[in-house]
């Protein structure tokens, strides 16, 4: 028992244990709950910092528990898992602060924060999974722990949204289970290996490998919201804002996208996936999703719904990057895992602020809101312009590398997709910014819950989006600095392609 074997498990437990304790906390013990939440988040951050340092120096961390002969639950750390773990941990901390403010005076907070912590535990479990079996275990647990959060408000709409969410994700889970067991029966324990682990499978089994890939993609595509498996995401927007922000912008959809990265790079290996024609399938699905999501976003008046369709579209950039052969496109796809996360969480925080402060739920109600809530609207603008791909915000970096990767790989059609998508992004985001900054404000806001004071809204609601908007700028401006998302992603790509 050393640090090397304990650290990955400790990262999972640092939110699991506080989560379980929070369930037992009496509803009115507000401070105890905050203490548990924040200490868990800070301890996790500390552990993750140690892990980043170790992985950078080629250190191996692995926790292992044998469930049955040949069936191990393995948590390990490579560069890709560290990227996702860091993203989840940082954003968990920010979102916890936000949720404390957002849920003040609402019922059932112990239940909410309990499941919230369990969700984060399963997300880092997904990130640290060392084989496909472990990935599957945490992937399913994530489904289960998110369900009560979507249903949290207990209204008929939220229960309906939660049911739709569950139908999609559990069906996807069954597909993933089938594919995983099949692969296991064919090739033995499916350990994530840089460069892939299916090279030894004889060519006459390649048909089976294609079928298995389709099953896995079907399972992962549900959470990654690939069209036509995306239907749950807009329906889940009935959840409270912190849930939409962290889970539906970061944890859940990223779990699907991250799984696609794992399957393409570390199970099949990108060369084999290319030889089997699987990258074409993935690329086609991703492109269709990018365009379809943006088109649907154009037509939404509900702010959260518009953001949800934008998520559908943007998450597929990650899959698109994985579908192009070559390290540059890999960098573009993987770095978008982080960039899309910080940009989208900013947008959702802001949407929550508009709703909580002024009762604004629709785009058509946003006229002149920039003058009433300048900081929130500024953060929103950074996120939105980043999504469009305006330099120097993080989103530009992603699109640049994706485009460059496509040109290197002679897949020029990707440029068409990127161009169209950027136009559509502008089409659904710029009108919002125009309304917010340039239209005159109405006589009265729909429901003004929080009157203007020294700050435009509560501090716990305001700081999180301002901080994450700052991260979007830093990730873009300092993209070449050491330990920036881009630099780290280049490390991943180098190790993945053995450069």
């Amino acid at each position: 028992m050393t640090l090397d074997t304990l650290l990955p498990a400790a990262i999972v437990f640092s939110s699991l244990v506080p989560g379980l304790l929070i369930f037992l906390v009496a509803e009115e013990s507000h401070r105890l709950r905050i203490l548990l939440n924040l200490s868990g988040a800070l301890v996790k951050l500390l552990f993750v910092a140690i892990m980043i340092w170790g992985v950078y120096h080629d250190h191996n961390y692995e926790s292992r528990l044998t469930l049955a002969p040949g069936l191990d639950l393995v948590l390990q750390a490579d560069a890709l898992s560290v990227l996702f773990v860091t993203l989840s941990t940082l954003l968990w901390l920010v979102t916890t602060v936000y949720a404390i403010g957002y849920l003040e005076q609402t019922p059932n907070r112990s239940r909410f924060f309990g499941f919230f912590s369990l969700c984060v535990s399963s997300t880092v479990g997904i990130a640290l999974a060392g084989n496909l079996f472990t990935f599957l275990v945490f992937y399913e647990i994530l489904t289960l722990t998110t369900y009560p959060l979507v249903a949290h408000r207990g209204t008929p709409e939220s229960i309906r949204g939660a049911r739709i969410y569950l139908i999609y994700t559990l069906s996807g889970g069954v597909l993933l289970l089938t594919g995983t067991v099949w692969l296991h029966a064919l090739a033995g324990p499916v350990t994530f290996t840089q460069g892939g682990m299916l090279g030894a499978v004889p060519t006459e089994q390649h048909g089976t490998l294609i079928a298995i890939f389709v099953l896995l993609l079907g399972g992962l595509g549900v959470k990654a919201a690939l069209v036509p498996l995306h239907g749950w995401l807009p329906e889940s927007m009935v959840a409270p804002a912190p849930v939409s922000a962290l889970l539906h912008a970061v944890a859940v959809v990223k779990a699907g996208a991250f799984g696609i990265l794992r399957v393409v790079y570390d199970v099949y290996g990108i060369e084999l996936a290319d030889a089997l024609g699987l990258l074409t399938l993935l690329g086609a699905l991703a492109s269709a999703t990018i365009l379809y999501g943006s088109l649907r976003a154009l037509a939404q008046d509900g702010l959260k719904k518009r953001l949800a369709y934008s998520t559908v579209s943007q998450v597929s950039y990650i899959a698109l990057g994985a579908s192009i052969l070559g390290p540059v496109a890999t960098v573009g796809g993987v770095v978008h895992l982080v960039h899309q996360g910080i940009m989208k969480i900013t947008l959702f925080f802001c949407a929550g602020n508009y709703a909580e402060t002024l009762g604004i739920h629709r785009v058509s109600q946003m006229d002149g809101v920039g003058r009433r809530m300048p900081w929130t609207t500024l953060a929103f603008s950074v996120g939105a312009l980043g999504m469009i791909g305006l330099p120097p915000i993080a989103g530009f970096v992603s699109k640049w590398y994706l485009g460059l990767g496509a040109v290197t790989a002679e897949a020029e059609w990707v440029l068409v997709v990127l161009g169209l998508s950027t136009l559509l992004n502008a089409g659904y985001f710029l009108p919002i910014l125009y309304r917010a900054w340039f239209r005159p404000a109405p006589e009265a806001w729909p429901e003004e819950h929080i009157p203007p004071g020294r700050l435009e809204t509560m501090g716990t609601l305001l700081w999180p989006p301002v901080i994450t908007a700052g991260l979007c700028l830093i990730a873009g401006l300092l993209a070449e600095a050491p330990f920036s998302p881009l630099e780290w992603t280049e490390l991943i790509a180098r190790r993945e392609y053995g450069l």
Binding site: F23, L24, A26, E27, L65, T66, L67, A68, P69, G70, L71, L73, P107, N108, R109, S110, R111, F133, L136, V137, F138, E140, I141, L144, Y147, P148, A151, H152, R153, G154, T155, S158, I159, A162, R163, L166, L170, S171, G173, V174, L177, T178, V181, W182, H184, A185, L186
Partner: protein
């Protein structure tokens, strides 16, 4: 006295004491439950250390005396019975009072005696005796509710139970006439394929499938399990049905191993598949929670019968060891999950006076711990990670893929989705706009035993099942 005899004698003694001293029945019952669980623990430790145990009661060796024996399989079931039994006892101490307690404890301890006796019996006739005792005490417990429906369901249960035992007994008579012995090991050694052995197998296993409520012989189970008081339903669904399954498994693997044909295995598998689909379908449309739980038992028993065709297709070795361990794991997980479910339903029923699914609104707020129990038990029933049945289902699917039996895969996956549908149909009703609860636990004496059982099923058995392999004797031959 050695542990095997204690495991049977202690609950019997406690049952007798509770009968002669009814005013102290609850206290005696709890002490008896503790002592029985301790004896079971002794048996398990000894089996873990020595692999196999056997003893001849009263110093008379077979073929004259009564032999008790234990191996990994019986130890595993004994352990499940001990833990579930202990939780049911704690729960019942708070659930029953007055006359009901007086009637409950002797019968319940007698039922436990019969279960332990059945798991430890080493010969065919003792198996019959314990099977009969089990059936009778189960029927009497089921009628404890005392209303018309409960009595009618119990009478039907009695009839089925007797039919099943008689069919089993006829098979035993055939074997005894042919081989002159009742000892399991001796008969197994002497058994020759032929019409007598085939007839005996059909009669014995046929009779037992009736007791195990395998589709289409399940008709008696839902009314009987749904009309009994909650702790009794828990015992019936989690333990009593498993005793028949255990016996079928014992006969199938040990006694009739040279006789079983692929056709017979396919027949059992087919019936199991039908049970999975039909049971889940009925559970999905049940209006009351207890009926849902009872139909879910029908479906879950079905999963267990998907194993025989895979046993047939898998040669001895690691693959077969995995299948056996998976089967035992699924039996255990269902035992813990279903007892937890029934106990939780009992809490809801006592609190709100009914168990209609459509009117469960607010349970999540009023009874958080019990809703948690429902959730955890549901996870184990669906077979989602990290439950024991997830590992079991994984190995089952793996075996089906490895032997190319695609049909079963489809059944398992369909069953999984249907189970998820009926479990979440209940859970989604639990949320509504009720105010916040004062605390997580509202009635510790009934809520905690149920929660503990559910946690064992949904987490413990999934993460800590590895010792099952060496216990069942598969680990040492170099997997």
């Amino acid at each position: 006295m050695d542990s095997l005899a204690l495991a049977v004698a202690l609950p019997l003694l406690a049952a007798l004491l509770a009968t002669v001293w009814p005013a102290r029945a609850t206290l005696l019952g709890l002490l008896g439950a503790l002592a029985t669980a301790a004896a079971a623990l002794m048996v398990i430790t000894e089996v873990w250390e020595h692999g196999q145990l056997s003893t001849a009661l009263g110093g008379w060796d077979i073929p004259l005396g009564i032999a008790l024996a234990a191996d990994g399989l019986s130890a595993a079931l004994l352990a499940m019975t001990a833990l579930v039994g202990l939780a049911i006892s704690l729960y019942a101490a708070a659930y029953f009072d007055g006359r009901q307690a007086m009637h409950f404890w002797p019968l319940w301890l007698l039922l436990w005696t019969a279960l332990n006796g059945l798991f430890l019996a080493g010969d065919l006739f003792n198996l019959y005796v314990t099977l009969e005792l089990l059936g009778l005490s189960a029927v009497a417990l089921g009628a404890l509710g005392g209303d018309r429906a409960a009595v009618a369901a119990s009478l039907r249960y009695l009839l089925v139970s007797l039919l099943g035992s008689i069919s089993y007994l006829l098979g035993v008579v055939l074997l005894y006439t042919a081989h002159g012995s009742l000892d399991l090991a001796r008969v197994a050694a002497a058994l020759q394929p032929g019409p007598v052995a085939a007839a005996a197998m059909t009669l014995m296993i046929g009779g037992l499938t009736m007791k195990a409520a395998l589709f289409p012989l399940h008709f008696w189970l839902p009314p009987a399990h749904a009309s009994a008081p909650a702790p009794v339903s828990a015992a019936l669904s989690a333990l009593v049905v498993k005793a028949a399954v255990y016996l079928i498994l014992r006969l199938w693997l040990d006694l009739f191993a040279p006789l079983v044909t692929t056709g017979a295995a396919m027949l059992l598998g087919g019936l199991g598949a039908a049970a999975v689909i039909w049971g889940s379908w009925r559970a999905l449309h049940a209006e009351r929670l207890k009926l849902l739980a009872a139909y879910s038992t029908v479906a879950q028993i079905g999963y267990l019968f998907l194993f025989p065709p895979l046993f047939q297709a898998t040669p001895p070795g690691p693959g077969r060891d995995d299948l056996l361990a998976a089967l035992v794991l699924m039996i255990l997980t269902h035992g813990f999950a279903k007892s937890a479910l029934f106990l939780a339903v009992g809490v809801i029923q006592k609190r709100s006076g009914h168990d209609r699914i459509a009117e469960l609104g607010g349970t999540a707020q009023r009874l958080p711990a019990t809703t948690f129990t429902l959730g955890l038990a549901g996870i184990a029933l669906i077979g989602l990670p990290p439950s024991g049945s997830f590992t079991g289902k994984w190995l089952l699917l793996n075996g089906a893929f490895a032997s190319g039996q695609w049909g079963w895969i489809l059944v398992i996956l369909t069953g999984t989705l249907m189970t998820a549908a009926y479990v979440f149909r209940v859970l989604s009703r639990a949320f509504n706009l009720e105010p916040t609860p004062p605390g997580f636990v509202t009635d510790a004496r009934t809520e905690l035993p149920a929660l503990l059982l559910a946690a064992i099923a949904a987490i413990g058995l999934g993460l800590a099942a590895a010792p099952l392999w060496p216990l069942l004797g598969g680990g040492e031959d170099g997997t």
